[in-house]
Amino acid sequence: MSLCLQARQLACERDDRWLFQGLDLDIRSGEIVRIEGPNGSGKTSLLKILSGQLSDYQGELFWNGAAMNEAREHFLANLLYLGHAPGIKSGLSPLENLAWYQALSGESGNEEQRLDALEGVGLAGFEDVPAGQLSAGQQRRVALARLTLTPRALWVLDEPFTAIDRYGVADLEKQLVAHAQAGGCVLVTTHHELTASPLLRRISLG
């Protein structure tokens, strides 16, 4: 089993300015790819293009060798994307939030799994508190619980370390490495300096 996300001659233009041009990417199993660049260099746009959210680009995308248009369903079934905003409903409890995410991918799941996932991110005891009452870091942790709750091969994480304390940062970093070692693939932007690892690859924009 291996996965492979490829981009050929990728270019993105915003307001008459090229964010990037002629970008060729090969992202494979067992890699942590960090997209680097100053603010406004198009990191988020690149992640959104690679995760199939933006259509405003030139160039081609391939998933396991097939054109993205045809492989989109299979691609989405293996993608876990965490954006700038954590995607956590403040009116729902962490448990309810996770239940919706599980159901979105077509799994009913069960309470046990969700409780375990929440415990894994250090939110034991907060399962039924409305997420609106949690701190920004805790809300981010609820979102991060999806990494273990709904296992996916490709993780696309936009600034996942935002609002997380330094213990959480260290743990998340380990989790990323473990995922890559297990044959998964991580695509990440972050201002936080990742510990050097043979699995880590950097791509600079701007």
Partner: protein, 255 residues
């Protein structure tokens, strides 16, 4: 066929071909509009019921035709843009919207002016005028939506979707308004549903309609060309074009 569509989609090619087409449409527009107006206003016989005031039909009906056609053309351009990502189609749609709104306004205004001698008032909730008014709101919606986005690509795609939604709704709106009108004001006198018109009355009307269409095509070509220059200003071919013109002008001056 495919090669042709894609060629048409290239702004540079469109810019070149439209330069050749444009004068013909302008010439046709001037010729048809002058002939049609002279014939319609001076030589066509007066209406036995409305007298000379019926002559406003030569502006009202072509404007109303065009107002509806432009919306359809705009939606088709939007579809072409969405399906084949042809940017010229979107540029054309962008310049068509204000033109269509203006035509709708002309149709409404001429209808109001016509209303004074016919109904004795500037406004009646006549089926055709009501539909026109709703069409004007649809145009204003498309224009406003396009203006509201900061990203041009999103603006183009949003305006295209709205134009397509609108064009599906236009016949529904038209039929419901007609139905509503007959229910509330049965058998009243409408502006343009006339018993058969004699040839010397409707022939100038046909000429005027054709003239309006030629005028619209010429104007759309012209405005699309300037839109192309505006949007492609940082492209090589546009810069070369501008440089070439500057060089020519300098050469002229030197002579």
């Amino acid at each position: 066929m495919w090669a042709f569509i894609h060629k048409l989609g290239s702004p540079k090619w469109f810019y070149a071909i439209s330069a050749k087409l444009q004068p013909w449409f302008w010439a046709a527009a001037v010729l048809l509009l002058v002939t049609g107006s002279l014939w319609g206003l001076a030589f066509a016989p007066a209406d036995y019921q409305q007298g000379n005031s019926f002559r406003i039909i030569y502006v009202h009906v072509p404007a109303a035709f065009l107002a509806q056609s432009i919306f359809i053309a705009m939606a088709v351009s939007g579809l072409v843009f969405m399906v084949w990502k042809i940017k010229v189609a979107d540029m054309a749609a962008a310049v068509m919207a204000p033109l269509g709104a203006a035509m709708t306004f002309v149709a409404l205004f001429s209808g109001a002016v016509w209303g004074v001698p016919t109904w004795g008032t500037w406004w009646m909730w006549d089926a055709r005028l009501t539909s026109m008014l709703i069409l004007l709101f649809l145009y204003l919606g498309v224009i406003a939506l396009r203006g509201a986005f900061t990203s041009r690509d999103s603006a183009s795609r949003a305006a295209s979707v709205l134009a397509m939604v609108g064009v599906i709704n236009i016949p529904i709106i038209k039929y419901s308004v007609d139905w509503w009108y007959t229910l509330h004001q049965p058998a009243s006198f409408t502006l343009t549903s006339r018993p058969t018109m004699p040839t010397e009355m409707w022939l100038p009307l046909v000429i005027m309609v054709l003239g309006f269409y030629s005028f619209f095509i010429a104007l759309t070509l012209m405005r699309t060309r300037s839109e192309i220059l505006r949007r492609e200003a940082n492209k090589r071919w546009v810069q070369d074009l501008v440089k070439g013109q500057v060089v020519n002008a300098q050469a002229e001056e030197a002579r």
